[in-house]
């Protein structure tokens, strides 16, 4: 009469499959889902379990732990960092088209001002029609300084000017907008590298959206390869999605998710909480 048994692959095959489908339905990219499920399998197979224990529960717990580990790897305390960093702190926001960079900058400036930091925004998207008007309108509403040049001007020059401005006026934080671009566009990616080279930012933040699917992996990787990012922000998390893209992005870049965008208002920026995030995935 054995009290324990050894978990083998057959015992957990079905549960693993169900969980993998669950991950996919929550927009965790296929390659990432497979890697996670594989690692859970390797961790569990061959371990001893008490007879009568619920294998479904064992697998789910292991999966949760694995997801939590991915999401909390390299945590980065943004508040603490800002408090201690030499000013001005320069943050550049990058990402593919339409993910929410400009809006996130406005939300971030608002948040920082509420915490009594002074901010200046660089209108570094000189390319997209109406981009300068958009960020100017945000800057006016939240009452923060904007540095802008002409449409089609050199983005590196705008960003450089904003940093100089912050230095000369003792402004705490520079938030630089950049034009959305496809990670496959070689010219635009090297332009972005130049922007970052000229202004040597303290932080580069990759902005993507919670509604993105498998492509999140591809673009996060390409951006991170071209201009190593320090963390990511995931927007549009209010759009009825569980935001599995966050897991894909954290997994592939190894960098933390800092905030979630949860609406179009200035207050709709929420600190990312790995535990909360993983728990809501399983709701």
């Amino acid at each position: 009469f054995k009290r324990e048994f050894v978990l083998d692959e057959d015992d957990i095959q079905d549960t693993l499959w169900d969980l993998e489908m669950g991950l996919l339905e929550n927009d965790i990219a296929l390659s990432v889902s497979e890697a996670i499920v594989e690692s859970v399998k390797n961790e569990l197979v061959g371990t001893r379990r008490r007879i009568g224990s619920d294998t479904g529960k064992i697998v789910e717990d292991a999966l949760k732990k694995s997801l939590y580990n991915i999401m909390s790897a390299n945590t980065f305390d943004f508040d603490e960092y800002l408090k201690n960093a030499e000013k001005p702190v320069h943050i550049v926001f990058v990402g593919v088209n339409g993910t929410g960079k400009t809006t996130t900058i406005a939300k971030m400036a608002n948040l920082l001002q509420n915490d009594n930091y002074s901010t200046v925004i660089a209108a570094g998207d000189t390319f997209r029609a109406g981009a300068i008007d958009q960020i100017e309108s945000h800057a006016n509403k939240i009452n923060t300084k904007l540095i802008k040049h002409q449409e089609m001007g050199d983005p590196a020059a705008v960003v450089y000017d904003a940093v100089q401005y912050a230095k000369s006026r003792s402004i705490d934080v520079v938030l630089s907008d950049t034009a959305g671009r496809m990670h496959t566009n070689v010219n635009l990616m090297s332009q972005l590298e130049k922007v970052c080279r000229v202004s040597s930012p303290d932080l580069i933040i990759f902005v993507d959206e919670a509604v993105a699917g498998n492509d999140a992996v591809e673009r996060a990787q390409q951006f991170n390869d071209n201009i190593p990012i320090d963390g990511s922000i995931l927007t549009k998390a209010d759009a009825d999605s569980k935001g599995g893209a966050a897991i894909s992005i954290a997994y592939i870049t190894g960098k933390p998710i800092l905030y979630l965008g949860i609406g179009q208002g200035y207050e709709d920026l929420k600190k990312f909480d790995p535990q909360w995030f993983v728990d809501q995935l399983f709701e």
Partner: protein
């Protein structure tokens, strides 16, 4: 990169099927599994993929291989037929006077596509004009106006006025003499109830002939739910997939048309007004599956 590997593994699996010379369950399972992976990686709805692969498996085993056709050709043809069944031939946007309303999630590419469509009609010799009904996003007016100005396309909008319904009414009145009216609206998603209601009101005032849902090629599993909600709310006539110039495969659009019984009209392949292409089902399917040209594969087989 990933897709290329997947594509070639799919082709390896299909090759095995040829070499085996006959259809057996094991080899069909292998191929179907690879097709499943390709579709999931392309963001096709998980449930839809499971239903499709079941159907493909059944048909591949049950249907007799037509004479002169090898097993590989047989399976590809079934996959192709199943996909075409869902995608259809594409929404025809006729070159005639009409009103078109653009709708979709935030940042999906509505405003850019509005100006691309206007340019498309202009090049075909019609007289398009554009109305900006997005009174929500800061800078929306300037964005659309500046895009229209570049191609001298008549534009109506009221900067600073938040009454989108009034703007649509006055815009349609002012621009009534133009052939094609395109109305750009604010981005929204299914949970933003007041914005969904605003869209319904614009729809009942403008009575557009066509309502085009603009979908980002990278949208994931939300595509079905969002498309369902938009369709339920005002009905959609067709889909435009944007940002196909990146690496996203656009499988969300497949889920969306399956959910709403609509089809795809155009694809966006860049940020400028010329970057709009007619939707071609064969090319789209090839891309979804990560295989080369599926037509020539079928024909070569």
């Amino acid at each position: 990169m990933v897709m290329d590997k997947l594509g070639s593994s799919l082709q390896d699996a299909l090759k095995k099927l040829v070499n085996s010379g006959r259809i057996d369950e094991k080899s069909v399972n292998d191929v179907v599994k690879d097709i499943q992976r390709a579709l999931l990686q392309a963001d096709v709805n998980v449930q839809l993929v499971m239903n499709m692969s079941k159907q493909i498996k059944e048909r591949a085993l049950k249907e007799e291989v037509p004479s002169g056709m090898n097993p590989r050709e047989h399976v590809i043809r079934i996959v192709y037929q199943e996909l075409i069944n869902i995608i259809g031939e594409g929404t025809e946007i006729n070159l005639e006077p009409q009103t078109i309303m653009m709708i979709g999630l935030q940042g999906s590419g509505k405003t850019t596509t509005t100006s691309k469509l206007a340019r498309y009609f202009q090049k075909k010799g019609l007289k398009p004009a554009v109305i900006c009904a997005d009174t929500f996003r800061p800078g929306a007016y300037h964005q659309l106006k500046s895009l229209c100005d570049k191609n001298s396309i008549p534009f109506y909008g009221e900067e600073g006025n938040e009454d989108s319904l009034g703007i649509v009414e006055r815009g349609m009145d002012k621009l009534g003499k133009y052939d094609v009216l395109i109305i750009d609206t604010a981005g929204r998603h299914s949970l933003e109830q007041d914005l969904i209601e605003e869209m319904e009101q614009i729809n009942s005032i403008a009575k557009p002939d066509k309502k085009l849902l603009v979908l980002d090629a990278a949208i994931g599993q939300q595509a079905s739910e969002q498309a369902r909600a938009f369709n339920e709310s005002i009905g959609i006539s067709g889909v435009v997939i944007t940002k196909l110039d990146g690496t996203a495969k656009g499988g969300g659009a497949l889920s969306a048309v399956s959910e709403t019984n609509s089809s795809i009209a155009f694809i966006g392949v860049g940020e400028t007004s010329g970057d709009l292409e007619k939707f071609e089902p064969d090319r789209f399917i090839s891309r979804l599956l990560g295989m080369g040209d599926i037509r020539s594969l079928i024909e070569k087989a």
